[in-house]
Symmetry: C2
Subunit: 546 residues, 2 copies
């Protein structure tokens, strides 16, 4: 589990910085195993360009070309929607158009946590309420709503309350989100944690991604700024840091301890970064983990908060999978922080914490609505006012998504007319996810050269794959990382689209892939098993290790 | 109409840069009249801080304070949701709570183009369709939809077509927006311009603001990059450039020519910027104008395209008010460019143009939904692929807003069941806007010391106010710009919230304010007239000029 840093010149999370001459190029930090060429499945070689077009581009009289556009954007990597996803989409289109030449009859998008693309049905209560806020004229015939469409009184009441709050979903709201909706979110947090929450500290967002982007941009004050990011990670973090020209300071999660945090690894990362004059300002934690599925214990959380208190780091707690927990109970960073503040007066007073949540995950799965929030805890009020100004430039998060968020944090309660159906649907989704996670887990356990941790939470499994040397060589001859080669072969053979581990980061000399367990049925799991067996036979040489 | 540049040290669009020591501070460009202290009504003195809290903040052990957070954010100004708007909201709350001590009984938010906050009713067809995509279960009883709620067959057909396209509004779509919806947008552009449009060149967005942000971030490749911005302007542009640490290169619009573009002013701005080693990469044009309401002629547009072709500038055409035109006809930059490319083969081939549109403005006014798109014209395919990657990091624009956009660009046609009501509602909104614009225009004409151009388009009037010397002195003694002082006095006396000209930029020794003409009725117009008369009497000294 040991890891070390290697110094390379002008290196960040991306290799592209090395291609450009920048006045402020310096010695930067890069962990071994985070070799830039492997960090993402989105490699430039897979874009539309060829060396001929590159020459043309550079000679064109246009203002913008690849070499003179913002190089931070060029450097950013985002594998989740990269080459594999694009190829999967072309396969899907070919199947739609009646193409019979492919060796599969459906494409399974297991690359992204997008439940409703995979036929997960939305929760009825949520959508009934949203239909009414979209067309309040429906409220003028409540009898017909009830008799012809089965709308219950609590649906009608909720829609009316939301409309009283936002006036119209077509009007800009307060830039932090409608005040009444923030009150509901605060109440939800209080019930979850047993500690108070202030609506003024809540910022509703267009999904958690836009919140992460705003927060990292506030934290990263210059090109020496660094943010601790777990590896493997959801690549939003490295991508956003690349856009901000700031340092990703990676800390490796401990695969052998179910992908938990490793305090010593974090401390060593900080030390090494400091020795490189990187100003480490923040630590991002994804709990439950993406792509790992890990769920942190109260002790793990305390360990992170201890480091934050000691090093004056802003804690970014990405808690969008907080209801996707199979084993144990979710404990929020906010709750743990408040407990520690009670137990040790003074010691944790200066900790700055932001907790993010979303309507896209959990049993809600409403990705397309782009809803979410973040809560600021312990922030300087002056900084908070600047964050308000920053978000006000974008005016406001989508108001329909704000209404959806309200129904998520304030669902039907026992005894209310919509409760029974809500509970049935919610539990059905939860149990289905757990069942498919276990089916996938069992399949991976059966597969040669695959190592897998028991699923704890989130929507993903992240198995280790030990590939034959011949496969690694074949990948190299195509100029690809071995895991990318494997995932492309899987897509071509099965129509199942997963994301190579290099898209999230992984220790040197290890290979993984991430798959969701959202797709219905188990047919696609068997497709993976069959493909893997054939792949191993094709490249096998008796030595299964990479 | 002459203007000149003045050199000041380490100066950009904001004064705050001067407060921080940055390694790369240089001599930068600032036009006279763009004095930073006046550039925005959002001044730091109006925030929660006091000098005591500042000291505290700096001494705190927290990671983030005002002085060590990202200073680009601190430097950004956004007056539309600044101090005046915050104060107006507190007045509104006091009135809601029954406070009788205020000299007015309602607050009029004339500071922001937010029609549905001001009781503009949404267009029925749009919202009926959206209610069905939110709850497709409603489609299972089409008889009840028709008989109990008056839904027409074309509403049902459209909802089904949209659902076939996006699968579920709860699923992430393609990062550029659902392909079928982009096809509709392309068709709309073709019908508008008479020239082809390619769905692959369209990027659906969460309102135009997020599109502007993405595009400016691609264009601004380093801290020498500059973008030509009209003054006065919608402050999104200066704010975003401040966030990107890039140069705003202002060019003044010609108030005496109905706020049209002035080619010589643009050329002189470019020359001066070049002499300061600023790399001028792009020109932003807002047509119809915000805050000016100006509508550009085909000749004005040609003049801008000529400069862009000559100087290799990316043209950012902010055309969100394209249907808000009272006089003449809207001509898009795309149409004019294609015409010129036909007339002068070769000459305009390298022009890069992006045109932005939105669901927030026009007669749609659906601000809260956060919908819009931009079209790229003539961009390098490699750069376009990078823009795709950039937007993919944020996953996708809100899918409900994409559906709304589709109904906006593809409304009911003559002969279709929903056409009659649609047309009646659309024309009612259009005529109401025009009527109120004229009422406001007439009122301003009657007011002492106020100069006003006849309204041409958009949702705003931007009168010049000539204030008595005593008022200017009174403002100075409060540390405020005179227009800010005037607007605050107006809010305190009338409950009408407008934005001072300094929030948009204005020539030195001129004062303005921006008001929308969205609020229903004319009572509030009379409130302004009465306030103005009393203000002039209070501070009058026979010399009305500033």
């Amino acid at each position: 589990m040991s890891w070390q840093f290697k110094l390379t010149s002008s290196m960040r999370v991306s290799p592209l910085r090395t291609l450009t001459t920048r006045p402020n190029s310096r010695l930067l930090l890069r962990p071994t195993g985070l070799s830039a060429g492997r960090f993402s499945a989105w490699s430039e070689s897979t874009m539309t360009q060829t060396s001929a077009s590159r020459t043309l581009s550079t000679q064109s009289k246009k203002c913008l070309n690849l070499d003179n556009m913002n190089q931070n954007i060029r450097a950013a990597k985002y594998a989740v929607r990269g080459e594999l996803a694009v190829k999967a989409e072309t396969y899907r289109q070919r199947l739609t158009e009646g193409d019979k030449s492919l060796p599969f009859d459906s494409v399974i998008f297991a690359n992204i946590g997008n439940p409703q693309q995979l036929d997960q049905k939305p929760i009825t209560f949520f959508r009934q309420v949203l239909s009414l806020v979209e067309n309040p004229l429906l409220l003028e015939n409540q009898d017909a709503l009830k008799n012809s469409f089965g709308y219950k009184q609590d649906v009608i009441d909720r829609a009316q309350a939301l409309l009283a709050n936002v006036q119209s979903v077509g009007a800009y709201s307060h830039s932090q989100g409608a005040p009444g909706i923030r009150k509901s979110v605060a109440k939800f947090i209080e019930e979850r944690d047993g500690f108070s929450a202030n609506p003024d500290d809540l910022f509703l967002t267009a999904g958690a991604s836009s919140g992460v982007s705003s927060l990292l941009s506030v934290i990263c004050n210059d090109s020496n700024a660094g943010v601790l990011v777990p590896i493997p990670q959801y690549p939003l973090y490295t991508a956003t840091l690349a856009l901000l020209n700031a340092h990703c300071v990676p800390y490796y999660l401990d695969e052998q301890k179910a992908w938990g945090t490793d305090v010593n690894a974090i401390k060593k990362s900080i030390e090494t970064a400091k020795s490189q004059n990187i100003n480490v300002r923040s630590i991002a934690v994804i709990n439950p983990g993406n792509p790992t599925g890990a769920s942190l214990s109260p002790d793990d959380i305390k360990a992170v908060l201890d480091i934050a208190a000691q090093e004056h780091l802003v804690v970014i707690a990405d808690e969008v999978y907080q209801t996707n927990v199979f084993t144990g109970e979710f404990v929020s960073f906010k709750k743990r922080l408040r407990q520690l503040q009670q137990e040790h007066p003074g010691k944790y007073d200066d900790v700055e914490l932001v907790s993010l949540h979303s309507t896209s995950k959990g049993m809600v799965g409403e990705c397309g609505h782009r809803g979410g929030y973040f809560e600021l805890v312990g922030f300087d009020p002056e900084v908070q006012a600047q964050i308000y100004k920053l978000v006000s430039i974008g005016l406001c998060p989508p108001v329909v998504a704000q209404c959806l968020l309200e129904t998520m944090v304030n669902p039907p309660r026992e005894g209310e007319p919509s409760f029974e159906l809500y509970q049935k649907e919610y539990n059905g989704i939860r149990d289905g996810l757990h069942k498919r996670a276990l089916a996938l887990f069992n399949a991976f356990q059966r597969m040669e050269g695959v190592e897998i941790q028991e699923p704890q939470g989130a929507m993903y499994l992240f198995p280790t794959i030990n590939l034959p040397a011949k496969a690694v060589e074949a990948a190299k001859s195509e100029g690809r990382a071995a895991d990318e080669f494997y995932c492309l072969a899987m897509l071509d053979a099965t129509g199942v689209c997963v994301v190579p581990g290099s898209g999230f980061g992984q220790k040197e000399n290890t290979l993984h892939f991430r798959t969701t367990f959202l797709a219905p049925g188990t047919d696609w799991v068997e497709r993976i098993v069959k493909f893997h067996s054939e792949f191993m036979s094709k490249y096998g040489d008796g030595n299964a290790k990479l």
